[in-house]
């Protein structure tokens, strides 16, 4: 309770942390990159800087969005919240790290549906007992998530079962990507209307930044995110070599968690505050965006700009883990309740799946 009462002040102090910390980390990352520091250190610093920039982008959008109403904020956040991850994936494709990108896309969804959801249930359950998730909104989002991730997985399945379409990997992936992006465009008016739950949390705080500041910070953070993502990807391969981590594991676990750090933390924080319904919506919304925007956009970008060719054909273990996770998450949403034990089981499942990718 006390955190809400003093939130205006705290948030201003936290702004300074984000701005100062983000700036310092970007400088450090630049020094590390151009100074050819130890690759593991460079990688860690760049990852931290990406997280800070993602926070700054999120905060700028929040401040901007308050002028447009909660629906528009949601859409803006959809579009820009994935910006750092998009940059990282593009630079990784430029560097030919297709395996890492594929694993990172699937890994982001797994991390959301198993690790973050598990942590949210565990923290929420330990602090507040059994939590209710039974709203229509949570169920509708879970069905959309199930449908969109399944749609994204079809090319992989066709490839895995040696269906003739498997031999037309690129055109099939491009067609599916266009359909998924069209679906996302269709869903925008739906999203513009549906964010009342989200609004309640933010609404109390009037915008603190003038518009020009929010836009400037957004532009600066976006531009910096581009540079830092490049350094992050550059350090990725030598760092993984040094730590003897396979590219798939690096993408699935490290890039996926670093790229979504902010969203992940927000979901768990909401659950800790007892807002389990809203936490659940935020956490389930991320896989929808990856399936409907990020993955198809990367496929089209990789083909159009001649980067290393990314298709929607993910490895069989990735696809099975993906399908099981979305089915489990949907079952949990239908269940209407969460306990800390369900949370612990989800985390255990994430640990098991992540372990299965440890051997490269």
């Amino acid at each position: 309770m006390s955190s809400t009462e003093t939130s205006q002040q705290t948030f201003i102090r936290s702004d300074l942390v984000v701005l100062g910390g983000g700036g310092a980390l970007c400088v450090l990352a630049a020094l590390a990159h151009y100074g050819s520091w130890n690759s593991v250190l460079t990688f860690v610093v760049a990852a931290a800087a990406v997280c800070m920039l993602a926070t700054l982008v999120g905060r700028s959008v929040e401040q901007l969005g308050d002028r447009f109403g909660p629906g528009a904020t949601g859409v803006l956040q959809s579009a820009l919240g994935n910006l750092p991850e998009l940059f990282i994936c593009i630079f990784a494709l430029k560097a030919g790290l297709v395996e890492v990108v594929r694993a990172a896309l699937v890994g982001s969804i797994l991390a959301n549906l198993l690790l973050v959801l598990g942590l949210a249930f565990l923290v929420g359950g330990l602090k507040h007992g059994t939590q209710q998730l039974g709203s229509e909104r949570a169920r509708t989002i879970s069905v959309l998530m199930l449908l969109s991730v399944t749609a994204m997985a079809i090319p992989s399945i066709a490839h895995e079962v040696h269906s003739p379409a498997g031999a037309h990997e690129v055109p099939f992936s491009v067609i599916v990507s266009v359909i998924l992006l069209a679906l996302f465009a269709l869903s925008l008016p739906f999203s513009l209307r549906r964010e009342p739950g989200a609004a309640q949390v933010v609404e109390n705080e009037p915008p603190r930044w003038p518009v020009w500041l929010a836009i400037t910070l957004l532009a600066v953070a976006g531009a910096l995110a581009g540079f830092v993502s490049d350094w992050f990807v550059n350090a990725l391969e030598p760092a993984m070599d040094k730590l003897d981590i396979s590219p798939v594991f690096a993408g699935l676990v490290i890039v996926a968690i670093a790229g979504n750090a902010v969203e992940n933390v927000v979901g768990v924080q909401l659950a800790a505050r007892g807002q389990s319904e809203y936490a659940f919506s935020v956490i389930l919304n991320s896989p929808i965006q990856i399936a409907l925007v990020l993955a198809p956009a990367l496929v089209l970008i990789s083909q159009v700009f001649g980067l290393a060719s990314l298709t929607l054909v993910f490895g069989p273990m990735l696809v099975v883990a993906l399908l099981l996770s979305v089915i489990l998450a949907a079952a949990i949403a239908q269940d209407g309740e969460s306990t800390w034990l369900e949370g612990a089981t989800l985390i255990a499942l994430y640990a098991i799946i992540a372990t299965s990718f440890w051997w490269g």
Copy 2:
């Protein structure tokens, strides 16, 4: 509303359309078949004639069934509603088109659960906003659908994973078919009692046709359906060749949609009128009938009458698509609500799966 008020009149006019149109199309189909017209044209005319005959069968059963109560009507419609599809599949097996029949059986289920359900949600959602599906009846049907389609899929799975049973394709499929048909026989008393929802829609209209007329029209339509199905199948192969469409795609999309055209249109119409619950029941009932009656009956018929041997071993892509569709449809039924966006996503998923079969 106005359509219900004047329904007696409209329905009589529509009777004439069905009788006249059906007769004309049968004559055209005969001319096309015996006159060796262009195969694509013959195919289209025969498909249209099959649809009209299916409508006539359905209408005769409706008129007959009103004397026996709604339960018996439901059962009669179950038994006879699949008549045209049964004829088409038998003639296709006689012509050796096993691939087409397999794809058509799975395609009928996919078309119902993804395309028709999607259209019903889309139309219902756009016209009437978020629709409720939460009745016990809808959920019970969805569970039965999940169970029966899964049971039908076991021989395919055994074959795909090289289980020893996979090497005994024919006896295993026959055993499973007998079990499925026994289950259908068991379910008849359940069906005889359960159709109150269906009844409400039809009940207002007293039977318009005397019994002798209904029986005569039923017999004539059934007999004609036999002939026209033969012509349809005859034109199928050359037409697909000319249009460069693979047999699997032809079965999965074209035969599946043509063979169920009437049921499909009814489902969407019900949703358009705001009767989403009833639409949902009708749409989910069709896969149950295919799994418990049509598919096992065809397996036994093909073995007993020495047609091209049909087993319950469907291709792996067909089976995965089938299992994913029934799980998704069950999740949607549990969800208890439908929105136009869910409808659009289902249609997108159907388009993606259909595309995956485009490459032969």
Copy 3:
């Protein structure tokens, strides 16, 4: 009703049946084993003796547990209820029958989720009409069951899709087993609190046995279970040879049903008495214990004591059947209702899956 009123008396008589019958069967089994009787007869007698001993273990725990409250009883029953099955599996591993043990573990889950659940629905539905399962408790258990069985299945999936982890079968299985056992340890406080439903059934009856008698009988039954399990396993292979039954089918159907006979009968009995909610909890709880305790314990025991190496890599058909069963059971739990037709369909599905393993 009359059975509850006279339950004290009946239960005492039934104690005598268990003690007398169990003793007699153990003697018979010893005679058969050491007298080298016909292997099929030895096998049947030993199986019956195992069932009786399992009943005696269960009853002793019940009598003991009444002193500790219903939660502790539940945990004790979790721990000791699987004792006979644990013994059988250990002796089978000692005899090198790894295939039988793998099939028995999966078969126990399938038998619970399809056959026993189906029988419970069928009996309950025929006797009491549509049954309600909609409690939060039933749903929570079904979600935990879905999660824990899925976690147990990951090593099999990794192996089947030729993921690199598949080549590290033993270490990966050991890691997963440790995680699953840790999860079980975590879940103990949850179980200790959650058994109010279970308590209602037993509560009316005060403990009839003094503590020393309950502990003595528990120890004797446990020790005898060790011997009889050995004889059971010894007779298993020659009996299966004589009956021409494959090891996988023997494990999946015969060992699985014999090893869980008591739990299975209890589940169906509860449903027959109209306590469908409680029956459902009991039936769904068993797969959780197999996934979180029995299977991982056997993996660790087999590695530590140098028995035939058991891993969590089950055959592909076993895994697919397992995953489909848990998804179906979870869907049924969410559905909130059961009918006799759902029960019949579950039994049909079990018959179909069991048939698929008939061909060795």
